[in-house]
């Protein structure tokens, strides 16, 4: 009969860790793909943006406003970035409840026979004793997997670097 210690050693912890690792890697890949797809949508979606409003105060004190023509800009361009997530922690908890029982059962069967006749007498006693030892084992186990995700900065190359080349003549 396996001991309680052996039962604990038999828990397939390496396999559980491996499967958890593979699961986390697969989930991480899906999260990254989702973030990249979000980045594409942000780059493809443009909104009209009014970059400046001119406030004019007339001589008589009246105030008027004039909006600059709206400029179509992508959401990525104005700084709306996809959020990237990363698994920061993964924990496996295994709880086992092992109960072993031993019972011993003894059966005694006694039978007697006697016979008398013609000056003859015979008697016999037969005894059967059987021992039966039973082992019982109950194992209850629960496992708990906990993962923690945290947002991380997007890859530095995801946003294009804005370089401005202004070829207009500079005012003197």
């Amino acid at each position: 009969m396996a001991s309680v210690g052996q039962e604990l050693l038999d828990v397939p912890l390496p396999e559980m860790v491996m499967k958890l690792g593979l699961g986390v890697a697969e989930a991480q890949r899906s999260l990254d793909e989702n973030s990249v797809e979000t980045a594409k949508m942000l780059a493809e979606t443009t909104v009209p943006l009014v970059l400046s409003i001119t406030q004019t105060i007339a001589e008589n004190g009246t105030v008027s406003y004039q909006n600059q023509d709206p400029v179509p800009v992508s959401l990525l361009q104005i700084g709306l970035m996809p959020t990237f997530y990363q698994f920061a922690e993964a924990t496996i908890e295994v709880t086992m409840d092992i109960k072993t029982t031993t019972s011993r059962e003894t059966n005694v069967k006694v039978s007697a026979k006697a016979k008398v006749g013609f000056s003859m007498f015979s008697a016999s006693v037969k005894t059967d004793v059987s021992h039966n030892r039973k082992f019982g084992k109950e194992v209850h186990g629960t496992s708990r997997l906990v993962t923690r995700m945290v947002p991380v900065p997007p890859p530095p190359r995801i946003e294009p670097v804005l370089n401005t080349v202004d070829n207009r003549p500079q005012p003197e």
Binding site: L51, S52, L75, Q77, G79, L80, E159, L162
Partner: protein
Amino acid sequence: MQNDIYKRFGARVSFARGVEGLFLVVSSTGDPEPRVRVFGGQIVMRLNKTKILARLELAKALELLKEPGIRKVGGVHLDVERYKRFLASQANAHNHL
């Protein structure tokens, strides 16, 4: 969660209640706003007829992603520094006009 495989194994799946985040919600069938509101979301900005920015809890956003007609729910955030750089570049260009 709509998927009930975990129930068949007697497992319990739960998400820790977190703060709300900003999500890009894209619908393939029309206005996603009613569905976002059903999941307790707040509309932050309407981008066009099928795209909105909404504030949602992560667990609610994952549930929303499984709704029919919802094409995309992706977490986003505003990079304030990049926004400032963009405004500065536009202001410089405007001053040259």
